[in-house]
Symmetry: C2
Subunit: 229 residues, 2 copies
C-alpha cells in the first residue's frame, strides 16, 4: 500500500516577450484546443529556479535567454491537484522558435484592457475574437508579468538583452509606449531618460526624412545591471 | 511497491514587521539553536496562497493581519528535498504574539547593511553579534521582502493597516526613514506626500514643544487600496 501525500504540484510558467514586431508579442503553446503559457513542472530541483526555467526554454523552445525576471507566484485551484505557478518573464531576441505547437500572439489581443492607446485598443478587441481560448489563470499571470515589467521600467528604462548597439531616443520612446500601452510626452520622456544616466550619446547621428539628424545613444557601460533605486 | 516521486517541498515563509518600537522589528522563531522566519509547509491547498498564510498566522501566532503582500519565491538547495519558499510580508499592529518560541528581532540587527543612517548602523553591527544564527537563505528572503516593501512605498506611501486614525507628517517621515534606512529631505518628503493625494488634513493641530502646532492628517478615503502607477 502506498499512502502518498497529495500536495500541490509546482511548475514554472514563463512569459516570453518579443518586441521586434511593431507591437509586443507573447509566446504561447497550443494545448488541447486552447493556448497556454509555456510551463514546466518542477520534478527535481538541483539548480536555482530561474536557471531551471532557462534550461527548459533552451531545451524545449530552442531559445537561449540571458536573464529571466520573477513575477508573481499564483495558485490555480481549479486543477487537481492544485497547481502553484512560479511565474518568470523574459525577452526573446528572435521570433524563431522550435516547435509546431508554439505561436507568437500579440500581447494586447490577449489583454485589450492594458492598451490605452486609442486605435490599437479597438483593433485588439476585434482580433481577440479569433483566438483559441486562454485560461483566466494564464491571463492573470500574463497581466501580472506585464505589470511587473512596467514597474521595472521606472527603475531601469533600458532592456539590455534586446537593446541594439545604438539607438535613437525615438526608438526607445516608441518601445516604452508599446510596453506601457500609453502615449508619453516626448520632452518629459527625453529629459527623464537623459537625467537617469543610463544612456550616453555616441558620435554618430542618423539622417531622418524630416528635421534634424537624430542622435544615437548606447547603454552607458557603468550602469549595466544597475537600477534606479 | 511505492515509487514515490521526490519533488521539492513547498512552503510559505512570512516576514512580519512591527513598526511601533522605535525601529522596525521582525518576528522570528527559535528552532534548534537558531532563528528562522515563520514558515508553513503547503500540504493541501484549498485556498489562495495569501489566505493560506493568513490562516497559518492566526492559528500559530495568534495574529490576524488584514493583508499579506507577496515578495519573491526562492529555492533553498541546501535542504533535502530542496525547499521552495513563497515569501509574503505583512505588518502586525501588535507585538503580543502566542508562543514562547517567537521573538521580535530588530530588523537592522539582522540586515546591518540595509541601514544607511549613521549612528544606527554601527549599533546594529555590534548588537548582531549576540543573535542566534539565522540562515543565509532566510536573510536573503528578509532582504528581498524589505526591498519589495521599500519599492512599494514609492507607489503607496501609507501603510493603511497600521496607520493611526490621524498622524502628523513628522510621524510619517520618521517611519518612512526607519523603513528606508535613510534620512529624507523634509521639504521634499512633505511636498511629495501632499502632492500624491493620499492624505487629507483634518481640522485638528497638535501642540509641539517647539515651534508651531503640527497639522494632523488622515488617509484620504477615496485612495484606500489605490497605488500610484
Amino acid at each position: 500500500m502506498c499512502h502518498r501525500h497529495q500536495g500541490p504540484s509546482v511548475s514554472i510558467a514563463v512569459v516570453l516577450f518579443e518586441l521586434g514586431m511593431q507591437q509586443p508579442h507573447v509566446l504561447l503553446s497550443y494545448s488541447s484546443g486552447g493556448l497556454t503559457l509555456l510551463r514546466v513542472a518542477i520534478d527535481r530541483l538541483d539548480v536555482a529556479l530561474d536557471e531551471y526555467a532557462m534550461r527548459f526554454l533552451e531545451r524545449t523552445v530552442g531559445l537561449s535567454v540571458s536573464r529571466l525576471m520573477q513575477s508573481i507566484t499564483d495558485q490555480d485551484l481549479s486543477q487537481d491537484p492544485p497547481l502553484i505557478d512560479i511565474c518568470y518573464y523574459g525577452f526573446s531576441k528572435s521570433q524563431f522558435v522550435n516547435g509546431d505547437d508554439l505561436v507568437w500572439v500579440p500581447l494586447y489581443h490577449l489583454l485589450p484592457d492594458q492598451d490605452h492607446r486609442e486605435p490599437a485598443a479597438t483593433d485588439s478587441v476585434k482580433a481577440a475574437a479569433h483566438l483559441p481560448p486562454v485560461s483566466d489563470h494564464d491571463l492573470d499571470l500574463l497581466a501580472a508579468a506585464l505589470n511587473t515589467l512596467r514597474r521595472s521600467l521606472d527603475r531601469r528604462p533600458v532592456i539590455e538583452e534586446i537593446e541594439p548597439v545604438a539607438f535613437t531616443l525615438s526608438y526607445l520612446q516608441q518601445r516604452t509606449e508599446m510596453l506601457l500601452g500609453t502615449s508619453l510626452h516626448t520632452q518629459n520622456f527625453r529629459r527623464k531618460i537623459l537625467e537617469s544616466g543610463f544612456l550616453e550619446p555616441i558620435d554618430i547621428a542618423v539622417a531622418q526624412s524630416l528635421g534634424r539628424p537624430a542622435l544615437l545613444y548606447q547603454v552607458r557601460s557603468s550602469t549595466r545591471g544597475a537600477t534606479i533605486d
